[in-house]
Amino acid sequence: MLMELISILLLGALFAWISESLQLQLPKWIAIATLLSAFYPLRQLLMELDTGSMQVWLVNESIEWIPRFNIRFHLALDGLSLLLVLLTLLMGLIAVLAAWKEISYKPGFFYFNLLCSLAGVIGGFCALDLFLFFVFWEVMLVPMYLLIAVWGYENRRYAAMKFFLFTQAGGLIMLLSICALVLLHYQNSGEITFNYFALMQHQLSDQAAFWVMLGFFIAFVIKLPIVPLHNWLPDAHTEAPTAVSVILAAVLLKTGGYGLLRFVLPLFPEASLEIAPVVMAIAAISIIYGALMAFSQQDLKRLVAYSSVSHMGFVLLGCYAFTAQAWQGAVLQMLAHGVSSAALFALVGAIQYRYHTRDLAQLGGLWQCIPKLSGMLLFFVVASLGMPGLGNFVAEFLVLVGSFSTYPKLTIMAATGLILAAIYSLKIAHQTLFGTLKLQSSIDLDRREVLMMLSMVLLLLWLGLHPQPIIDLAQQSINQLLVGARL
């Protein structure tokens, strides 16, 4: 099922590339078709999905890969993965729609890379063999790199390079940790294996556990990203084309949070519990620091990028509070931020497409000429400042509730992030939408964009007003974590 899913995406990517030579409009249609047909393998699962009586692993596929090290091509799906896979596919659709008019140069190769990176991400969300996970983790970078480096804006090379180097550094450290973990496991079990479950069984000595955990942690935190390892993000976002920013914000950052929830916490519960206070502090700092940086930016995309840093801080906060609410909050935050930031980037992209600038100083008064776009922008701005009734609020509130009991001071620190969020979010609205119109007017959102945005609006409202199904879906995975942490 999952293998079908991934291979569908890869095949679609190839077709998209080939079709370029036939007709320049073809690739995007193929991309859309591919993403839609990617739901086909999941149909049965989604049909008879019953969150009430659901076992942890919905799907579990495994075939031999590298017998020398007993490495298997092992894909599996639980509630958490399913949620993120769905998010990936949806945001993929959004990204393709966002790229619809913008990408005219070599569209085939563009969509090839887009779909490949999506395939890589989905693989990462499903892989349960550490080697396999690492492979996907790295593979999704290359197409991402190309997307930024070829179709990006002025300073794209620098940004792409920075993005790749940062993540690669994390990746290598993680590879180190994986090797160490496997060898330690070999030492007292006598068999080499990269299997998630096998490695989860075995107990490390405290010190060893700490160092190995640190390797994973750094890799994931770079991807998340967390201050002070966040610097690749603003550049990457600023220079990437709209669709790629959407994918970056909505999906790629989530792999970091997913990694924490899937690997770091279950594999090293004690060690994680040990460093939890420090991590919580870091998270709180990066929430506030990100917000402050966001406020000081003049480039709209940069502003939104820094706001992502601030929001992902909540994910980290949730991961290390070790309570069910906090973990649920982290998951919800990943989804909600995925949608809201994707929408924001899409809208900023739309503005850039119309006015060829992202500079707040040059924008202003857009409401007078493009009210629909402005309304949408206002909506998502409000969402990102955590308006109750929208996904982000529920997520952040759950995170705070979960972490307050154990770390009251840090939680209050993080809560001040809400004020700062309001400040920088309103800055966006104030500088772009209101005041006197500085630029010549332009066409408003067309039907495609309105529908695209409306779908995301509905998603956010759903997350905000009726998140229970999602919570139930993730509950099993969260329970696993609780069991692992012996809470």
Partner: protein, 622 residues
């Protein structure tokens, strides 16, 4: 059966405005052009609908004196021990509130139809207004704190949108930001209170929570008032209330909020939203009563705000700013009452205030509407004959505000003073009394300056019919609205029988405003109001009062400027310089290493020799 009926009615009350808002929004989104008439009909009809529902609820509950009704419609979220639902809780308090919201809301909608008729953003205005009413109703009906917070933030958002409604003007959007951010500060404190309450009591259901609080935290005597958890919770909640209700120290957004259209000022920044803070404290009166310290804090904040705002109102020139400051000070009265434990009195004053302040604002709106958007009262004068209706409205509004006998305001304010005396809080009583004096003074200053004296500018328009209707209804309300709603006492479990009114006191409370008016009239006759002040000491005082005791300047220099400076200083993100430094380093070393590659054969062979010598020395030394 009755349960079902009530729950459906309440649902309708909330959903009608919401639905009309969404409908209008979607229509706008898919760029279907709608005639203003249709928009107005839909919007007003929705509010009318919910108002009718409220009336039905009244009829349903007419016979029952002490009732409390709660109903859960749907589950919201439910994680482990944490759970919140979409549920309503109806008792005397919330009934009063929804009556005010839907009733006054309806009148103001009606008024707006006329007032906004020429505005090209007619539709957007009504979307926002409907949305606001819905959110406000959610706020007052919520049975758990999370849902209350939903409404709480919702009204905040709508107020933001409506203050900045005329977004072409930069200043308006700035005022909107100020309003939202300052309230947000309070809201965040309130959110923390939510967390704390949940952790301490394990629930967010308001009633349940308070019962548990009563059991968990025994009342401790006032002198031994330490910062125990109940006090902390209460104070955090209070911070939220203060933010919303424009009390000290978060009051300075309210005068700027007058940038919005006048109906908005009437609905949001006079009648309903700004009194949400009062509602909150009243709603949590059990919790507050547990902590004397918190109660004192409430009373003190109320008293100080009362005086500051009233004195600020004395010297304003903009008619709307005068009313804004008077709103602040009236809410100060309510807080004072709450702090004194006179909850029902506070809510009573809330109601009457909603009537006469709405009236005053709408009248002011009509005035501005007729006077080519003239806000400065000293550019007007002698309009008594030109705009008789507005003059009447103003008269009764000011009378109620000044608590002249037999006006609605009189009963509520008199009750507050009475309660203060009963509670032997003489200091506060004096403050309240002097406040009453100042209130009467500034309200009639406004009245005299605008409607008496020589005519400076002629009106060029007449108020529209819908406006007239709304105004006249409100006039009646603010005259005869002084009937204390039954059921409040039951909510706050107070003794219904009012303590025997000491005649002397009553006379005093009547005399104070009258004397104030007399003084005012005298001063007006002497032309002292619009004369520019000679002695700069006095001018300094005047400016100080005019700027609302200089809170804006204080906050600017204390928070805003430092914040901006700090963030701007780090625009480039100093952490990045570390990474750039790394790349610089590697480039530098690349260049140094390259210089070794000079292509000289003999140097190459020398390098071999040198290395071997170095290695040998290393081996020998080690």
């Amino acid at each position: 059966m009755q349960q079902q009926y009530l729950s459906q009615l309440l649902l309708a009350v909330v959903l009608l405005p919401l639905l009309s808002a969404t409908l209008l929004l979607l229509v706008a989104l898919f760029s279907v052009n709608l005639k203003n008439l249709w928009v107005a009909t839909l919007a007003v009809a929705a509010i009318a609908g919910s108002a009718i529902c409220v009336v039905l609820i009244h009829l349903q509950l007419a016979d029952t004196v002490n009732f409390s009704f709660s109903y859960t419609y749907a589950n919201w979220l439910n994680v482990g021990s944490f759970s919140a639902a979409f549920g309503v809780y109806l008792d005397g308090l919330s009934l009063v509130m929804i009556s005010i919201v839907s009733g006054v809301g309806f009148l103001i909608h009606l008024y707006s139809v006329g007032f906004m008729a020429k505005d090209q953003d007619f539709q957007r205005f009504f979307i926002y207004l409907n949305l606001f009413v819905a959110a406000m109703l959610v706020l007052v009906l919520a049975d758990n704190l999370l849902m209350l917070f939903l409404g709480w933030e919702g009204v905040g958002l709508c107020s933001y949108l409506l203050i900045g409604f005329w977004h072409q003007k930069h200043a308006n959007s700035l005022a909107a930001n100020k309003a939202f951010i300052m309230t947000r500060i309070g809201d965040t404190a309130m959110a923390i209170a939510l967390l704390l309450l949940f952790i301490q009591l394990g629930t967010l259901d308001i009633q349940l929570l308070q019962q548990q609080a009563v059991q968990l935290w025994p009342l401790q005597n006032s002198q031994g008032a330490v910062l125990d958890s109940v006090t902390v919770c209460a104070l955090l909640l209070l911070a939220g209330a203060v933010g919303k209700s424009g009390q000290l120290p978060l009051q300075s957004w309210l005068p700027d909020a007058m940038a919005g259209p006048t109906p908005v000022s009437a609905l949001i920044h006079a009648a309903t939203m700004v009194t949400a803070g009062v509602y909150l404290v009243a709603r949590f009166h059990q919790l507050f009563s547990l902590s004397p310290l918190a109660m004192q804090a409430v009373a003190t904040i109320g008293a100080i705000t009362l005086i500051i705002a009233a004195t600020a109102a004395l010297v304003q020139r903009d008619v709307k700013r005068i009313l804004a400051y008077s709103t602040i000070s009236q809410i100060g009265y309510m807080f004072l009452a709450l702090g004194a434990g006179a909850y029902s009195a506070a809510v009573f004053h809330l109601m009457t205030h909603a009537f006469f302040k709405a009236l005053l604002f709408l009248a002011a709106g009509a005035l501005i509407y007729c006077m080519q958007h003239q806000h400065n009262i000293f550019r007007m004068g002698g309009l008594r004959s030109k705009l008789p209706l507005i003059c009447i409205c103003f008269f009764f509004g000011c009378a109620a505000l000044a608590a002249l006998p037999l006006m609605s305001g009189f009963f509520s304010k008199e009750l507050i003073l009475q309660k203060l005396l009963d509670k032997e809080m003489y200091g506060f009583w004096l403050v309240a009394l002097s406040g009453a004096f100042i209130t009467a003074f500034y309200s009639f200053r406004l009245f005299f300056v605008v409607f008496f004296g020589s005519t400076l500018q002629l009106p060029d328009a007449k108020p529209a019919t819908s406006m007239k209707i709304a105004l006249s209804v409100l006039v009646l309300l603010s005259i005869f609205g002084g009937i204390k709603p039954s059921g409040l006492a039951a909510v706050f479990s107070e003794s219904e029988l009012a303590s025997d009114h000491n005649l002397a006191i009553v006379l005093l409370t009547i005399a104070v405003p009258l004397s104030a008016i007399a003084v005012c009239w005298f001063v007006f006759k002497k032309q002292l109001f619009n004369r520019n002040i000679k002695s700069d000491k006095l001018r300094g005082l005047h400016n100080f009062l005019y700027s609302g005791w200089g809170f804006d300047q204080l906050y600017n220099s204390l928070f805003v400027r430092p914040f901006i400076k700090a963030t701007d200083s780090n625009k480039k993100d100093f952490i990045d310089s570390f990474y750039t430094g790394l790349s610089k380093l590697s480039q530098l070393s690349h260049h140094y290493l390259s210089t070794v590659q000079n292509g000289q054969l003999r140097w190459y062979s020398a390098s071999l020799v040198l290395f071997s010598i170095a290695a040998m020395t290393y081996l020998l030394t080690s």
